[in-house]
């Protein structure tokens, strides 16, 4: 079993709030992902078992949403917004700079397992474009120089 007893308990608790347990699928996947970084096939099967639904049904949900990762990701996922206002104001420069500095393309993870670079749709801060998220934190008005500062603070090479 990969899920911890605490995670199983948390998933069961979520499921108890709904008329049927499968309604907690997204919360359950979020709980599992928080503890294990991404949703492996084995983890998916375990979550499905706790919810009492088929792994295929749960996989149809897990593969639908942008923030559920079905492949391994680094400790910090960098989501850069590639939507229209950010695109207009320099998102592509930031992406190029990130790729060069970290040595990874879109969808890839650095060799030390630290960072994964992914695009995301509009982060809802178009007045502060370009915007990106690193882990849980959103950064506004980002340019390559600011990116260097942000990455420097996290200890990136």
């Amino acid at each position: 079993m990969i899920l911890t007893p605490d995670e199983i308990q948390a998933i069961r608790q979520e499921a108890g709030h709904f008329p049927y347990p499968s309604a907690a699928a997204i919360e359950a996947l979020n709980i599992a992902q928080r503890g294990h970084d991404w949703i492996s096939d084995e983890l998916l099967r375990e979550v499905a078992e706790v919810l009492g639904i088929s792994p295929a049904d749960l996989d149809s949900v897990a593969t639908f949403y942008n923030l559920i990762y079905r492949r391994p990701v680094g400790k910090r996922v960098i989501h850069y917004c590639n939507s229209v206002s950010c695109w207009m104001l320099g998102a592509e420069d930031n992406r190029r700079h990130l790729s060069e500095r970290l040595g990874i393309g879109l969808g890839e993870t650095t060799g030390d397992g630290e960072y994964t670079l992914l695009p995301i749709v509009c982060l809802g801060a178009c007045d502060k474009a370009p915007v990106l998220m690193i882990g849980d934190e959103t950064h506004f008005n980002v340019d390559p120089a600011k990116l260097d500062d942000i990455l420097g603070e996290t200890g990136a090479p």
Partner: protein
Amino acid sequence: MDKPLTRNIKPDGSAASLAEYRAGGGYEGLKKALAELAPLEVQQQVKDSGLRGRGGAGFPTGMKWSFVPMGEDAPKTKYLVVNGDEMEPGAFKDRLLLEGDPHQLIEGVAIASYAIQANIAYIFLRGEYRLAADRLRRAIAEAEEYKLLGANILGSGFSLDLRLHTSAGRYICGEETALLNSLEGKRANPRAKPPFPQVSGLFGKPTIVNNVETLCNLPHILRNGVEWYKGLSRTGEPGTKIYGVSGRVKRPGAWELPMGTTAREIIEEHAGGMRDGYRLKGYMPGGASTDFLLPEHLDIPMDYGSIGKAGSRLGTGTMILLDDRTCPVRMVLNLEQFFAQESCGWCTPCRDGLPWTVSLLERLIEGRGRLEDLHTLERLCGLLGPGNTFCALAPGAVEPLQSALKYFRADFERYLQPQSTRGGVYA
């Protein structure tokens, strides 16, 4: 100028506390509704106020509520759902309200729930709004502690359980029925209508889905009355609106202004005008799914009717500006890439048609386009338009494309010329 929705929003970006919210009359609207008005009377006040949904479609809120079964024979379980899935490129107004004044939303939820007699409410929040989620959780706990939520609110006999659901990211979740599927733990595919959610929604029970900004209007309407609310506007459409501007202006941002303020005033006075060296070429008045308008439309009031007559939609009221140094064709490609990626794939025109628009635009930009491709793009605008798809995603997606083909035709045709003769218009 009265700015009820944003008066508690602090410049430092911190959230208004319960005490601060109450000091400005917070929860008085709820108190009044519970103590003095029957649920149907609250519905009538909101109907009389003329409030229209601020999520983008602009449907009259009171009328939407009136389709919910009421009275003794109505189902015992009903739901109120907050649409906080703000994911349309160019839209960033709800974030301001969610992060800056969470109690205002909670009061709005409680009033709406009382009006339709729902005892369970969900806030469906996009997963990326982590700060808003933290602040909402704290505010919900505070409201519960002070008996503003939970059993027997303010001793009225009305009870409401409010839960926060953080989504996992997908634009289609903002569509009313797709949102309900997502809340049920499924893929967010839209549902066929009828039955409408007001009759059979979440878990098959009567459900109202209202946008964040819409709900934030309710405490003020209830507290100050219908006439006051109508007086906030400059046009026949009542209230204030949170307008926003993004793009190459000096001070991009969001401001609460009287409904019917013109785009010129918003762009030139509040956003400080275009940045030096840039000229306005066009603007999308209400987010990525609205038709472009031109500088000649700047003096039209930004309300639902006036913008509709000009050939676009007010949408979210948050404008995206196109400047004279940004290529409209590349801008439209970015928009279509977004919609193609975020199509849920449920219906064929959207699933297959949007990637087709993307590939035609890419081919054009790469210099491999043909004149008939422009005709195909125009034809696709019709094929993906209203009535031909399961939900409004594809019709919204083709709005910027069809208007760009109309207004910026020369920019599309420029790509049909040999590269050496195109000239360096765009950087």
